[in-house]
């Protein structure tokens, strides 16, 4: 067991974790943040995507102990003061989810992508979502939602 200190969605946590526990399982089982989904557990699907010091990573492929000292943001930390994050709102507006299982990972990947590239082209969106799979294959509306949120975020800067 190792004692780790990390910030999750702005709240500091000090916890004892088994060395082999994955960050995804730590978030879900120890902190109860079940919005982070585990779809494949083989680093393919991106459902477990969270922000690690501001960058998108797959939390099923990182040990919780590696996140010691890190600043983590999960899907639960995206809305502020009861208002959805622009990417979340765009997913609702553009009907960018069907079953919704991939949605938290998509939103975390997209919000990180838009930080690097606030106005991505279609090709840049496909490249930026390489690490996220939607098995309902609703990609058309997901791409629409990326563009919608990019517009909104640029207007409200």
């Amino acid at each position: 067991m190792t004692r780790i200190e990390l910030t999750v969605n702005g709240t500091k946590h000090v916890q004892e974790v088994e060395d082999r526990v994955l960050l995804a399982d730590f978030l879900r089982d120890q902190l109860g943040l079940t919005g982070t989904h585990v779809g494949c557990d083989t680093s393919q699907c991106g459902c477990c995507t969270v922000h690690f010091n501001g960058r998108a990573i797959k939390s099923c492929t990182l040990l919780a102990v590696q996140a010691n000292g890190a600043d983590i943001v999960t899907i639960e930390g995206m809305s502020k003061n009861g208002e959805l994050h622009p990417v979340q709102q765009a997913f609702t507006d553009c009907h960018a989810l069907q079953c919704g299982f991939c949605t938290p990972g998509m939103i975390m990947a997209i919000s990180a992508m838009l930080k690097d590239n606030p106005n991505p082209s279609d090709d840049e969106i496909y490249h930026g979502l390489d690490g996220n799979l939607c098995r309902c294959t609703g990609y058309i509306n997901i791409v629409k939602a990326v563009k919608r949120s990019a517009e909104v975020m640029q207007t409200h800067k």
Binding site: S43, R55, K58, T61, L62, L63, D130, G131
Partner: protein
């Protein structure tokens, strides 16, 4: 995953001490290959020694006419570094094609080179650019370093600190990525170096290799047509559910031609 103990190394000396103390330990950097391997119970290290955050393994600079990249540089760092983009744009472009964004945010140059996956992208650049792998013990030339599938010249307890890349006049990398994994079914790095042309192929065979016939043909004429009459040797080609060895050999040639076309259209240094 089997049980192990995690050790965060705070310095290179710290890491080397832990490696000596725990002969059954494995080094962890980005973990993009190691953690999936552990999950599948394909490895059972006693300890994981985390060297991902070591200061001694960071830094990107052009020194003495070479590009020096720290082993802990993440693919994202290499892809977006102004220094890399200026010195060897093809290397930055290669890094931007590894895996996916989440993997590029964690995976490291040193980790990829130490692992030497036969379908990894970096080995093609390392071999084509005549890079030197600098470890805590010595300097290893790329030609001596890669020793076939997942095999390298690294000894137990040896840690890659950085790589030194010769800066080519022009270079380009093209790969046919497996649509699901993003790994190279065939990837070809062509470098127009001051002392000749070097062509390295990854993904197609049991390990990265230089395609010397193509190098000779391109030295005569740097054009995709120069490769028309050539055939990639089938001896060490991989064959699996994704492609036959003949298909992979042809794919390597097609990627080589595309890389040459890209190189020719790039600006000369």
């Amino acid at each position: 995953m089997f049980e192990f103990n995690y050790i965060k190394a705070n310095s290179l000396n710290d890491a080397l001490k832990s490696v000596t103390e725990h002969p059954e330990a494995k080094l962890l950097a980005g973990g993009m290959t190691l953690i999936p391997t552990l999950k599948q119970r394909l490895a059972q290290p006693s300890h994981l020694i985390d060297i991902g955050g070591l200061q001694e393994l960071t830094g990107i600079a052009v020194t003495g006419g070479e590009l020096v990249v720290g082993a802990a540089a993440k693919h994202f760092d290499v892809a977006t570094s102004a220094i890399v983009t200026q010195a060897i744009p093809a290397l930055a472009a290669l890094a931007d094609k590894i895996g996916d964004p989440q993997v590029r945010n964690r995976g490291t140059l040193g980790g990829s080179v130490a692992n030497n996956d036969p379908a990894a992208d970096y080995p093609a650049a390392v071999l084509a650019l005549d890079a030197v792998i600098v470890t805590n013990r010595r300097e290893i030339k790329a030609a001596d370093y890669f020793q076939g599938m997942f095999a390298t010249a690294l000894e137990d307890g040896e840690i890659i600190l950085r790589l030194r890349f010769a800066i080519p006049r022009r270079a380009a990398y093209e790969k046919f990525a497996h649509p699901a994994s993003g790994y190279a079914m065939a990837g070809v790095f062509v470098a127009d170096m001051k002392d000749g042309v070097r062509v390295a192929v990854t993904g197609a065979a049991s390990g990265v290799f230089r395609w010397t016939e193509a190098e000779q043909a391109l030295a005569q004429k740097m054009s995709g047509e120069a490769l028309d009459g050539l055939v990639v040797d089938l001896t060490n080609m991989n064959e699996d559910i994704h492609a036959t060895r003949e298909y992979r050999a042809n794919l390597a040639k097609v990627m080589a031609k595309r890389a040459v076309q890209k190189l020719v259209s790039s600006t000369q240094h």
